[in-house]
């Protein structure tokens, strides 16, 4: 049977009323936990695992996939409106998205995020359907050396979010890398910077830092400003939808974001954050109006939002094709397979074809549902800004508490959350950019781990990074991105001096 007819059978399964209902419940719950800071799909699905004893596998997976895709949609909303990202993959979105909202363009930002998510989700799902095999092959080519080189490329993205001062941006980056080092060192088992606190052994959760830095930090910042100076900047001036110019500037970033996000999501150490960093810096480089970046450039919302949704689809490729989890959410979904007695692996497609194709078909449907659900919601979300500030921020703090305390039931985590919040407040007050902290925290430990793994494999020979063609290619790309503009200037001058072509 060819792929297409199998997919059609999948649709026949997914389109039954009961499965459509599960899909709807999934995307609605997913959107809700995506919107709320700190609550993510991995934990929510883990908590819903007992449902596997009550419903059949197809229904359960359609529900879980809906939650997963929905969370990726929902995360952008609070990033844009309130500068408090719901997930770490939406941090980049807040950079331009919130600036757009402050200019009264919240509607357009939300719309480009929603449509971009739909485009990327659909491209990603098409990728799962037809491209699974080559993508998995590419992903497995990535070993520690290649990952390290990819991280180097990602570090360049910091340049794009440095803000007004390189020194302050780099300081934030280094503080982030420091936070990322806390805990048991994965390669040697030694404790680093734990100061004897057992709760720190597993490191600090990126979500705690992201919520602290953005949600708590922003609340503290606003609360301490004299009330008479608080301007009502977030009024929606424009029409709610995107105008022709917005469409023109959005569609290419959507496609580029999808192309970056999908393969990286499929990589065992890819994740959803890295493609958003890459997409943002790429859009900034390619933009006709790079000067708008940092002041609400729509490309900076469209690209990263597409990238994180495409990566969500990418994560499902090795999961369905190989039984290989590449994210926390995928790991939890795999354990759901196991509680049905299904062993996910290379033969999943042949042994449980109906389940897999039903799941894939439900992804198409879920995506469409999310678009239909979210576009009208844009108007509603924007109205959220009309909630009086005292109650809005009181509510944010309550949900931030659930998002942290509800994960671990640990008062230590809550303390960390508030401490990072205070740090976020001071960073705002002294004009330090906050995004590099998260970038450093995610990339720092990953880069370190892969560097040390590669060096272990090569017996301490650093040449491994340039001997592997894919790794070399990525390093050259990184060097070009970093030095390219300077070299370009130099060549021009040199040409000018010598007059040669």
């Amino acid at each position: 049977m060819d792929t297409f007819s199998q997919l059609m059978q999948g649709f026949a399964i997914a389109l039954t009323p009961i499965n459509l209902l599960w899909c709807l419940v999934g995307v609605a719950v997913g959107t809700a936990i995506g919107v709320l800071p700190g609550l993510g799909p991995a934990l929510t699905i883990a908590l819903l695992l007992p449902i596997t004893t009550k419903v059949d596998p197809t229904a359960a997976f359609i529900l879980f996939a809906g939650i997963y895709y929905g969370a990726m949609y929902g995360g952008s909303t609070t990033s844009i409106l309130l500068n408090t990202p719901g997930e770490s993959a939406n941090i980049v979105t807040s950079l331009e998205g919130n600036k757009m909202a402050r200019k009264g363009r919240a509607g357009a930002a939300l719309a480009t995020a929603a449509i971009g998510s739909f485009v990327a989700g659909t491209i990603g799902t098409i990728g799962i359907t037809f491209m699974a095999e080559p993508v998995v092959k590419l992903a497995l080519k990535f070993g520690p050396a290649e990952y390290f080189s990819l991280m180097m490329l990602c570090f360049i993205t910091v340049a794009a979010v440095l803000g007004n001062s390189a020194i302050r941006g780099l300081t934030a980056l280094f503080v982030g890398m420091f936070l990322g080092m806390i805990g048991v060192d994965n390669q040697s088992g030694q404790l680093r910077f734990t100061f004897g606190v057992t709760e720190l052994y597993d490191g600090i959760n990126v979500i705690v830092v992201a919520v602290g830095l953005f949600a708590i930090g922003e609340t503290l910042w606003l609360a301490t400003r004299p009330k008479e100076q608080q301007e009502e900047v977030l009024e929606v001036k424009d029409s709610i939808m995107m105008n022709r110019e917005d469409w023109r500037r959005s569609w290419k970033p959507w496609l580029r974001g999808s192309l970056i996000g999908f393969p990286i999501g499929a990589m065992p150490a890819g994740g959803a954050e890295i493609p958003t960093f890459l997409s943002y810096s790429l859009e900034k480089k390619l933009s006709e109006k790079p000067e708008e970046f940092g002041h609400g450039a729509i490309e900076g919302v469209a690209g990263p939002e597409a990238a994180n949704n495409a990566s969500a689809a990418g994560v499902l490729v090795p999961m369905l094709a190989l039984g290989l989890p590449t994210s926390a959410t995928a790991a939890v979904m795999l354990s759901a397979f196991q509680s049905y007695g299904i062993n996910p692996g290379p033969q999943l497609l042949s042994t449980n074809g109906a389940l897999v194709w039903g799941l894939i078909a439900s992804l198409y449907i879920g995506n469409a549902m999310l678009l239909v659900l979210n576009l009208p919601l844009v108007g509603l979300w924007v109205k959220m800004l009309k909630i009086p500030a005292p109650h809005l921020y009181g509510g944010i703090l309550i949900f931030a508490t659930i998002g942290t305390y509800g994960i671990s039931r640990s008062v230590v985590d809550l303390m960390l959350l508030y401490a990072v919040g205070v740090m976020g407040f001071f960073m705002r007050r002294f004009d330090f950019p906050t995004a590099p902290v998260i970038i450093g925290m995610i990339l720092g430990p990953l880069a370190e781990m892969n560097f040390r793994q590669a060096m272990t494999i090569s017996q301490g020979d650093p040449m491994i990074f340039i001997q592997k063609p894919l790794s070399l290619f990525l390093l050259v790309l990184a060097a070009l991105a970093l030095l390219g503009p300077a070299l370009w200037g130099l060549t021009k001058r040199w040409r000018g001096v010598t007059g040669e072509a």
């Binding site: 908590l47 420091f178 609340t219 301490t224 508490t401 809550l414």
Partner: protein, 155 residues
């Protein structure tokens, strides 16, 4: 001022890095990257100090802090920390566990007050309702574990 703070921070990090046991076992030990970070923080601290001495990059100088807001919000956050799970010290329960709903109610009311809302009791009622709905939704329906307390045990 801030630069000096960063240098101080770098020194603390250096101290903590020195405390990482060196194992000869891995090719690149666990302290290598932390030392690099320490060095980076130190250099950046010096640069920040220089920048500070040259002056004029602190754009926010004009804005005064609203101390009343800080105090209210600080009180709200602190009370949340203390009340959500209670405080136990030396085997004695100093503060009983009020639980998520009551501590969040207080947090909400204090936050609202920090943002200049005049009616503390009304805010408390809104906060209570919100916390109650959130608790039922997340703890009872989705299965998040938000703990137990004075109000939770009656739901």
């Amino acid at each position: 001022m801030l630069g000096v703070f960063m240098i101080g921070f770098a020194v603390v990090v250096a101290y903590a890095t020195a405390a990482i046991p060196q194992s000869t076992y891995a090719k690149i030990g666990p302290a290598v990257v932390p030392w690099a970070i320490t060095a980076g923080l130190f250099v950046l601290g010096i640069l920040l100090t220089l920048e500070g001495l040259r002056g004029g990059w602190w754009h926010d100088e004009a804005t005064q802090l609203d101390w009343r807001g800080i105090l209210w919000l600080g009180a709200g956050l602190l009370s949340n920390l203390v009340l959500i799970d209670g405080v136990e010290f030396g085997g004695k329960q100093l503060v009983p566990a009020f639980g998520f709903i009551l501590s969040s109610t207080l947090l909400f009311a204090c936050t609202a007050r920090a943002f200049g809302s005049p009616n503390f009791l009304r805010d408390g009622a809104i906060g209570f309702t919100l916390a109650l709905v959130a608790y039922v939704g997340f703890d009872r329906v989705l299965g998040y574990q938000i703990g137990s307390g004075l109000v939770e045990r009656f739901i």
